[in-house]
Each structure stands twice: as structure tokens, then as C-alpha cells.
Symmetry: C2
Subunit: 468 residues, 2 copies
Amino acid sequence: MSTAEVEAVLAQLEGSWDEARDRLFSLLRIPSISAQPDHAADCASAARWLAEEFAAIGFTTEIRQTPGHPIVIGHYAGPEGAETLPHVLFYGHYDVQPADPLELWESPPFEPRLVEHPDGLRVVARGAVDDKGQVVTFLCACRAWYRATGALPIRVTLLLEGEEEVGSPNLDAFIAEHRDELAADVALISDTGMWDRTTPALTTQLRGMVYVQIDLFGPSRDLHSGMYGGAALNPINALTRVLGDLHDDAGRVRIPGFYDGVAELPPALAAQWQALGFDEAAMLGAIGLPAGSAGELGRPVLERLWARPTADLNGIWGGYTGAGSKTVIPSEAHAKLSCRLVPGQDPAAVLAGLRQFVAERTPPGARIDIQDLNASPGVAVPGDGPHIAAAVAALTDEYGKPPVMMGCGGSIPVVGSLRRLLGLDTILMGFGLEDDQVHSPNEKFDWSCFKGGARSHARLLAKLAGRG
Amino acid sequence: MSTAEVEAVLAQLEGSWDEARDRLFSLLRIPSISAQPDHAADCASAARWLAEEFAAIGFTTEIRQTPGHPIVIGHYAGPEGAETLPHVLFYGHYDVQPADPLELWESPPFEPRLVEHPDGLRVVARGAVDDKGQVVTFLCACRAWYRATGALPIRVTLLLEGEEEVGSPNLDAFIAEHRDELAADVALISDTGMWDRTTPALTTQLRGMVYVQIDLFGPSRDLHSGMYGGAALNPINALTRVLGDLHDDAGRVRIPGFYDGVAELPPALAAQWQALGFDEAAMLGAIGLPAGSAGELGRPVLERLWARPTADLNGIWGGYTGAGSKTVIPSEAHAKLSCRLVPGQDPAAVLAGLRQFVAERTPPGARIDIQDLNASPGVAVPGDGPHIAAAVAALTDEYGKPPVMMGCGGSIPVVGSLRRLLGLDTILMGFGLEDDQVHSPNEKFDWSCFKGGARSHARLLAKLAGRG
């Protein structure tokens, strides 16, 4: 009930930013790349790091093994009477994307630095914002409560996984097996962004994903294109022919049934997003592209990013890729393809449609395998209710203006899992910015966003406890 | 005039196959991969090897530097009166293709082995047949003449280059600068194949080539497909869309003007090829493909291979190609494309058409560069005249049946250069087989083909001298 208490917690935060930076850097130095088997020990290290840090501020933490990388579970019982207050399940992930292409990093990806920039200081490292930095904002907020008041004001359960970047293959089973242990009233995730550097946001709509690897096999061995060209199926020719047909001239995806269940945006939400005045030309200009260079013709960019499904090739390879020329017809060619899904699309149906799309275009003599690497539905979370109201109040206090209620083009499949398996809605309160270069070289997290994130989490704990 | 003389030369060959094998193996052990700069010293070694071997049998040889790998020149003056006999210019190349993918070789590519096989012994190594093995058949024939009779029966000039597999960028200039030194009456090349293991062939029609690298540039950095998918141009999507359009549904190449100058096969030649009874199903079945899996609908396979132009993608790469998934929209994507050309097509016009094809399909926001790596026209050589008659006679004596006059799907650009710059026609007498895995892992040269090649060259020297 005391603003003075919140002010004390915030003062504690303000007095310990150097310590927070050191803490963040020690986590960022661990190259916990979940996709690469030789980094398994690093993933285990990052899990241990988190378990120890939260244990140091009163959590009971445990590292749980899975068939993949471990999951960290933590419990904080809260003060006396906390049973009557909201119980928060905080989810985050300690794994990161591969750092390649390494040569494009201005400093090594796992040697974090605080870099001066015209927009302000920024932390540069793989995982700076996705998601280690954002997890540490929550850790720092809890630590400040613990130091300033001796306790957190509410019950908190932690669920910190190490396989988010590879599609969380073991998470759903873990959640299902530990339903009782993970029981809470609301989930909280910091893995999304602000509207801009000074305007907070809550995310209420997330795209899902179907991610596949497509392997096309043709002749039983590599061939000389002079001796076989014009007679033998060329797997690269065939693969480009199949994949080049993914979109029609209006930018719509040609996979059969792809748009089944995709609703048109409600006019009120469309108007709200339109009113945000988002500048597509500026967004794309910053990466050297003109407006309208991708997506469905005639739809506003925020709708294309937040409320429309896509199909993007994320990788392709086959044949000779070295210097100069080699006149080979290779025996196989490969691609990685991801479809971003919106609420209403069924990932299994999209995958079936993709298989049909490929089968219909597979030429005689070719065999195409499709490996399902990842599938999760798009998710919408409520934009109102007491928990969201607490987050709106915390952000409004911190930033002096209410948060934008926005969509997100990316996927956080766990939001759907928490809803389905635990019946929980999620507060998606994140502090990233559009230029954070997530999944790219030189990933960064603005230091002001880190600080604002930690302060906002400190305020949110108070609001949820009715003490802010 | 003496068959006894030829028999003595052949007897000399028959008595020295072990020595011939050792000689061939010592050349095959040199990894003279012209495309890879770190093998430059190996290319120089292979040139030295050839210069020394031919010098040992009476040639005056010299190694000439070029801006790339060196060229070996050799002269053999011939016996008294040789001025009245045909003067042969023998062309070959000592460079080889890269050996990757290395893991598919059953033995290391530069450790030649003589391997038992149901079809007979075979030499397995990179360059076994293309073209080191075939060059050594000629070397052995010359050596047998030198040993058995003390001299070669005619004048011979050697032109042995080390850049054939990278498009011979320095050869034409060299030939033009050394016109007088390279003067001859007819050229001879062994870089083609037999009709089958027991039927010799002369090749009279060769496809040319345009080889390009296509580089597509999109956003200025790699992007997260969740944050940008549906808004930012995806270079892999764009590249597959451009390249997937290369062929129409009838297998014709869509490059503007591609078929300009391509003549229909003369009915007589078409009938001759048809009469060969070539088994497309067997050829393709051997590499796991059904008949009719590529090329222009409705044309016989030999016509498609020997007399029709093609467009084959030889390599493609972009984005994430490692294990698992990475949701990246890469900033660029690349491909290598080669068009096989037939006589009548102008390589410059095909290249211009290709640039137009790509430009017409380049989406807004993309930049596509086309690097011209190689361009040479298709070539037809005469199928009659005294020099060809000598080759027909030599092969008929050796194999007991006349050679098939065939086309070749591959390119030997030097044939066009020798015609244009020196006014020479070329005898294309080669001893490869269709299953030699040229440019592929486990390249081989049948030992019986090697022997028959050396014996045929020995006979040809006699026929050209009027002594066979």
C-alpha cells in the first residue's frame, strides 16, 4: 500500500546498476546455443547460473533434466497472506540462437560490451535481449525487492527453459507432468518489445510457426552437367521450381488451405493499429528496402506483421558453393522453410497443406522429404482483466504514458502451452526495440530499456500485490 | 608403310603397362585443382611433370607462365621428310575439378588405386579420365614409338594447359600470341568418350557453355523472420522465384532469345543417332532416375544431350544451413547457373538474355549481380577429310569396328579457339565411358579403355604418317 516502499525498491535498483550489468554479462558470456550439440554443457551452465542467482534471493530452485537441455524451476512462497494475492508464473529462456555469420559481428558475440551509441548506451552480445537480458530485468527486480524489503511481495514460480530457440521440443511434456507444481494465477513473460524507446507496450497477439526442412533427392550421385544436362533431373532446378511457386503475384501463400481459419482483423483493432501511425518506409529504409517489398498486396504493414501468416525460406543449399565454377548436377538439394501462423490456423493443417503443395510439384524422379522441426499455433491473449490492468498501471507509472496494446510477428509458443495445459493467461511485458538485431549479428539491448524493464517489473510486483 | 613397325610399337606398349600405370599414378597424385588458389603449387608441379615426361622422349618442352596456371609447350620435329606429313597439335589439360564432397569418395581422391570391378580393372582417382588419364594415353603412345623405333613418325606440338576446369581464362590470349609456334595441320584431343566399352567413337559436335554466379542482395542485414516476415523482402524467396521460372512446363528454357540460332537436327543425323538404339531408361536407371525426368518434352535423349541447349543450376546457398532451425531472413542468397550451348547460339547473346530474364524478375528492393565466370560457343567439327579418316582407320583396326560419330553434351571450348585462332580442325578421339563419374566422387578410368586409348594413339600416329 506504500509508494514509499516502491520508491525504496526503485532506489535499491538505481544504486546497483553496475552490479546488474556485471550479473547480466556473466550470463551473456555463456554460449548457450541450444541448436548446436557441442554447446550442451554451456546450456547446463546457464541453467545452473540462473538456479544459483534466484536461490540467492530466497527462491527454492531446482535444475530438472529433460531429454534435451535442462529446465530451471523455482518457487518463492511470498510473505504471509500471499495466498490471497495473485501467484505469478514467470517464464523465460536461457538459450540463444547460433551466432553465425560470425564475421559480421563487430565484437565477439559472447564477450558482452556496453557500447556508446547516439541513442544511448547499449549491451551488445548474443542473447542481450533475446531472452537473457529480459530474464535478468526480472531477476534484478526480484533482487531489489529482496534487498530493500527482505522479501518479494507475492508468490512467484519460475519456469526457465533452454530450448526455446529450437522449438521447445520438451517443454509441453514437462509442463503437463508438473501441472501442480506450476500452478499459478497468471503467467508473465518478458520476451517481446516496446512500441518505441519511450513508449511501453503489452503484446496481446502472437504469431505461431510451422518450421520444416525440405530435402530433395534426385540422381543417386553427383553428375557432370555436360554429360547429363538435358537428360537427368537437377535437384536444384527442381527445388527452386517448387519453392519459387510459394507465393502468387499478390504475395499470397499458395499452400492449399493456408488461409483457412484466418480471420480478417476486427475493424476496431485495425483502426487502433492504423492510428499508431507506423512508418513502414522508415522501418524498411533502415534495412535498405523500399516499402511494399514483401507480403500481401494492399494490406497495411502492421496487419501483415502481426495478423497475417507468411512463408519465408530461412536457408537453402545444394551443389557447388565454392569459388569459381564446377559443372555439377548434385544428387540433392535442401531448404529450411518457416510459416508464421496467426490465431485460427491449425499448424497440423498447414503442415499437411505444405506436404500437399510439395507433392503436387514434385517432378518424376525426385523424392522430397519434409522434416517437421517445429509447430505451434498463433495465440491471442486477453487485453483486459485485473492482471493486465496491473501491468498497464506499472508501465504507465514508469513511462508516464499508457502502454500500446500491440501484436507481435514472432512466436512464443509457450503462451499457447500455458493456456492449454495450465489454463493461464499471460502478461507479455517486454522491453526490446525493433532495431535490437534479434537473431542477427550484433544483437543488442538498450541499457535504458534494461533499466526501464527492471523498474517496471519491480512496479508490477507491487501492483499485483496491491502495494504500488 | 610397315605393319610390322606398328606391331613393334604395340608390343612395346604391351610390355610396359605396369610402368604406364606407375607413370599415370604419379601424375594423379598431384592435386592440381585449378579452382582453388591453395593448389597453385600443385598445378605448377603437374606442369613440370608433363614437361619432364615429354622431354624424356625427345620433345623440346618449356613451361610458360600465364596470369593463372602455367602452360606446357612441346615440340617434336619428326623424322626426315616429316614436313610433308600432317603436323599434329595435341591439346590436353592437367588440372582437375575440386574433389568435394570428400566424404563420398571410397578412397582418397589423390591416392590413385587400380580397383577390381565386375566390368574389369579401373583406375580410381580425381582426374583418372578427365583429363590426366587421357593425356597419359597419348604420352604412352609417343613413348612406345620412341622406344620401339627411336622416333615418332610425324611432327607433334604439345599444348597442355592447367585452367580447363575453370574456363581457360588465359588460353585464348596465349594461343593468339603464339600463333606461329602452335602452327599445325590438325589438332588432336583426348577428352571425350567411347560409345561403349567395346565401341570406339569420334566426337563431332560439342556443346558450349555460359556459366554465371547469381548474387541476390536484399535487406542490409540478417533479420528475424518473426519481426520482419511479411514486410521485408526475403532474398531466398526472391531467388527461388526467379530461378524457379527458368523452364516452362515443356522443359524449354525461358531466357529471352535462348533458342535463337539453334537449328533443328538434320534428319539424316537424327536418323543415325536414332539408329544407335541408345537406352535412355538404362542410362537414367543407373543413377536412380526415370526416363524423361529432364529436358525438352518430345525430343529423343541423344538429341537433348548432344544438340539441345540446357540451363542447370550447379549450386545454391543462403541463410541458415546448419542443424535444426533458425528463423532468419538472410541479407543475401546465391546460385551458380550454367547453360550448355549448341552450335549457332551466341554466348554473349545468351548472357544478355539471361541478364534480361533476371532483370525482368528482380523484385523491388532486391539487387541481383551476375558474374560471368565462363562463356564459350558450341562447336561442330567435320566428320570427314583425311585426318578424320586416319582416326577412323586407327580405331577400326584397334576395335574391329568403325567408330560411332557422336555428339557430346560437355564443352571443350579450346576446339572453338583452335578453329578461330589457328584455323585448325580437331580430331576428338577419347576413351571415357558414361559411368566414369567425371566431376563426381570416385571418378574412374577403365584400365581397358586406358590401354585401348594408348594403342589407338599409337596406331593414329602411324596412320597420319601413312605408315600404318
